[in-house]
């Protein structure tokens, strides 16, 4: 497959990714990762300075599922809508089994009866794994966010 085709594939998968979170179908979000896929939401200053702390750290589907469980069952927060806008990726490396790429994202948040605000923007640093059946799963997604000063809580994944 050409780089352009890979880019198109990632664009499509990112549409799925956004839809899963924005519609609150968080189990679908988990299923977009490989079994031991890594998801980090990390403030840009930590990423830039080589500090390892992430705001959300999920190492594999177990931790991803625990995050979903917490969001859905245990965490206390004001109801809100989130909305992801994800740009087309810049594709770096492709092989038969992997895509390395970076996309920009913007996530808005709308609290009940309040104006919409910018929740965060930043970039996804991705490694997608391509299965034999053609499925694309995230082996790594590091959501490095510029918006280091989080507007109170970060509930839904970036």
């Amino acid at each position: 497959m050409s780089t352009a085709q890979r880019m198109i594939e990632v664009i499509a998968r990112n549409a799925d990714y956004a839809a899963a979170i924005d519609a609150g179908k968080l189990t679908q979000w988990v299923e977009m990762f490989t079994q031991d896929g890594l998801y980090l939401a990390q403030p840009r200053e930590n990423a830039d300075r080589g500090l390892p702390l992430a705001t959300i750290r999920c190492e594999g589907r177990g931790m991803l599922a625990d995050r979903v469980h917490a969001i859905e069952k245990t965490m206390v927060f004001a109801p809100r809508y989130v909305r992801h806008l994800i740009s087309a990726p810049q594709v770096f490396n492709i092989s038969a089994t992997e895509i390395h790429c970076v996309s920009n994202f913007l996530v808005t948040q709308t609290l009940t009866m309040q104006p919409t605000q910018i929740m965060a923007c930043g970039e996804y640093r991705d490694r997608w794994q391509i299965a034999e059946n053609g499925a694309h799963l995230l082996a790594v997604r590091i959501a490095v966010f510029d918006s280091e000063l989080v507007p109170n809580s970060l509930i839904y994944p970036l």
């Binding site: 930590n46 500090l51 390892p52 177990g62 245990t74 206390v76 000063l149 989080v150 109170n152």
Partner: protein, 410 residues
Amino acid sequence: MNSPIHWAPRPDASHKIPNAIYSDPETFNREMTRIFYGPHWCYVGLECEIPNAGDFKTTHIGERPVVVVRNHDGKVHVVENRCAHKGVKFCQTPHGNTQFFRCPYHQWNYRLDGTLRGVPFRQGVNGQGGMPPEFKMEEHGLNALTVTVHNGVIFACFDHAVAPFSDYLGGLMKGYFERTFDGRKLKLLGYNRQRISGNWKLMQENIKDPYHASLLHVFFITFGLFRADQKSAIEMDERGRHAVLVSRRNSGGDNAEVTKDAGSFKEGLKLADPRIMDVVHEPWWGEPTVVMQTIFPSVILQQQINSLSTRQIIPVGPDAFDFVWTHFGFEDDSEEMTTRRLRQANLFGPAGYVSGDDGEVIEFSQQGTSAYPDGECTVALDGYGTHNTQHMVTETAIRAMYNYWREVMQ
């Protein structure tokens, strides 16, 4: 000039907090002057953030920007981030390393201790202009704060007459402080920052309030990190400003007496990946598995199982504060321990399984109290006193803080 909210210092009113103290602008202004800029040590950072000569970071005390810097001789200084010439907040980068500070506007430059080093064209150019002869370099430095560094933690104060840090803490609190900060080298793991739409005191209350921990935080309850029946204590300094919440983790699971009241308890909750709670007891803990210490007015020192952080409170007007988390470990941590701390960090910060709840309810408190400024809050749990306790069903430390607050704000 409008006046701050009046909260009568009658003993019988000590458990009734007037809602307006969370939103009244004049009260806030007085708090800044008397508390944050008065004789109270405010947290500004950790030594491990500025390990080398010339390293600096910027932060705020109250609403005032300051720079924390390590001088060439290794000494830590805290100076106002405000040029002596025309008030420019000269240092705009959050951290870095420099030989001296240079204000961009007219390049007045300062040594790292804040003394004035150079004024361009001070003698004029071609014999014309320049500063008048009576201009004294030593009178135009950056205002330098009093600084104390205690086992790697840096505090500063605008009031040079502040009591020594050890006295400020008191012996009991100092002991807890030195439990974590015993002089070992710290390892910086990273930051989390949030702007919480609530008055800064609500954050202090939150940590001085063991009652909520066993009710609000389902995650805590279920995994036994906090439960109303566990062995625990609230201890304070003599003036009631600082406090620790000390607790020993239960083994988890159900306990009819304390979970029947906690409507939020979710039975049967299991982690799909238990590594997040792979707690390893560190020798220096002693018996407690959790020690949360509030140092009035500006910081919370967290040891919760293997997760360590300082949480700085930076007020932004009466209705909000920035909450800065600095996570750290120790220099001799194994890689496994570092990973453990990073995993457990999922419980804290703006997305924390536990701390996420706190930021949210603080915002809800601000919404309710600011909309009903004539109302009051009731903090009568465990009576009206301000004694230390050996249990968690108490609001004693909140009352103690406000007793001190009323004294200062009078």
